[in-house]
């Protein structure tokens, strides 16, 4: 029997066999592993503690006991921003704040996500013709989810976070 095995195992067949084994392993492990990694990411999104304008009040109200965004894993991390992976741009971005916001975004490690909260962060909102206001943050940050409202109710913000979770679930885990 050993003799037949010796004749059967040649470099080409070994290659083909290892290739097929690799395919099976990728299908069996990569998809569930990716799912597990994404599951870990989406249930522990930590936002950076940067308050930009008036929508920060509804963000604070979302952390209050009635709307409780902490059950979704979104805890405001009071450490450094190098441990966070979510930037919630709350409200109007002025020309003075824009370089600082970009600096904060650049200092965060990958993977990172951006939620634009409020009408002012999406298109400039009520202040579209002011001299010191950026017309939306699309020009400086890559936005994942837009949450409209002026200000959006806390439930709307939570719906925005759930949309972001759906997006992460279907993402390729890097």
């Amino acid at each position: 029997m050993l003799k037949e095995l010796e004749l059967a195992v040649t470099p080409q067949t070994a290659n083909a066999f290892l290739g097929k084994l690799g395919d099976i392993l990728v299908k069996a492990i990569d998809k569930p592993l990716g799912y597990a990694i994404n599951w870990g990411r989406l249930w522990s999104l930590w936002p950076v503690h940067i308050e930009t304008a008036c929508c920060s009040i509804e963000f604070g109200a979302a952390s209050s006991p009635r709307y409780d965004v902490e059950r979704f894993g979104i805890i405001e991390a009071f450490g450094s921003l190098r441990q966070c992976d979510l930037v919630v741009v709350q409200g109007t971005i002025t020309r003075k704040m824009a370089p600082r916001l970009r600096l904060v975004y650049d200092q965060m490690p990958e993977p990172k996500f951006v939620i634009a909260m409020g009408a002012c962060a999406i298109t400039g909102g009520l202040y579209f013709d002011s001299y010191n206001v950026l017309p939306g943050i699309d020009g400086i940050l890559p936005v994942d989810v837009y949450v409209p409202g002026c200000p959006p109710r806390p439930e709307t913000l939570i719906q925005g976070c759930i949309l972001l979770q759906e997006k992460i679930k279907n993402m390729k885990a890097r």
Partner: protein, 188 residues
């Protein structure tokens, strides 16, 4: 000595008296304004006297003396705000100080507006052109940040203020001071 009597406007429109006679000016406020005008004469002018609100126009050279008099004799002790108003047609900028009092119980309700005018140039160069005014910081300390804001928004340079630099605008603001009427915002 010139003092200008002015009509007080009625607060509501419900009084439709057919014969309009001059209503009485409120006495306490008239006293205050008269004290200033008797002391300083032609340099000051009463603009209006209303219940709880008095406005005095002063020439810009005399503003330090008038302000010291108001603080020492009339017991007003702080400034509520400093406003700059741009009048491009008359080529002047008006700076209005609203003064109030915490220590004197009779003056708690009163707000005294002290107004001066400074010349205005068409191409402003803040700090180096003729739009200059003496700072009231030594007399009323509370105007420090208000005067800084007036400097950056209108270009009025306050001499004697230790720190004429911008407060609210971005560091790289290179345009004319934004509250001037020549500065038009987008699309209007």
């Amino acid at each position: 000595m010139s003092s200008e009597e002015s009509k007080t406007k009625p607060v509501t429109q419900t009084q439709t008296a057919p014969a309009k006679k001059e209503p009485e000016l409120p006495k306490f406020e008239k006293d205050l304004s008269d004290k200033i005008v008797t002391k300083f004469g032609a340099d000051t002018e009463i603009s209006f006297v209303k219940p709880n609100r008095v406005r005095i126009n002063v020439k810009k050279e005399k503003i330090i003396d008038v302000a010291t008099f108001i603080r020492d004799e009339l017991h007003f002790d702080h400034a509520e705000s400093v406003t700059g108003v741009d009048f491009p047609n008359e080529k002047e900028i008006e700076v209005v100080y609203h003064l109030g009092s915490y220590t004197d119980p009779q003056l708690n309700k009163q707000i005294l507006s002290l107004a001066t005018r400074v010349p205005r140039e068409d191409t402003p160069n803040p700090g180096k052109d003729s739009t200059k005014l003496q700072s009231l910081r030594e007399i009323f300390y509370s105007v420090e940040f208000h005067e800084r804001e007036c400097f950056e928004m209108l270009g009025v340079y306050f001499e004697g203020h230790p720190d004429n630099r911008r407060l609210l605008l971005p560091e790289d603001w290179a345009d004319i001071p934004p509250m001037r009427k020549d500065f038009r915002i987008k699309g209007r």
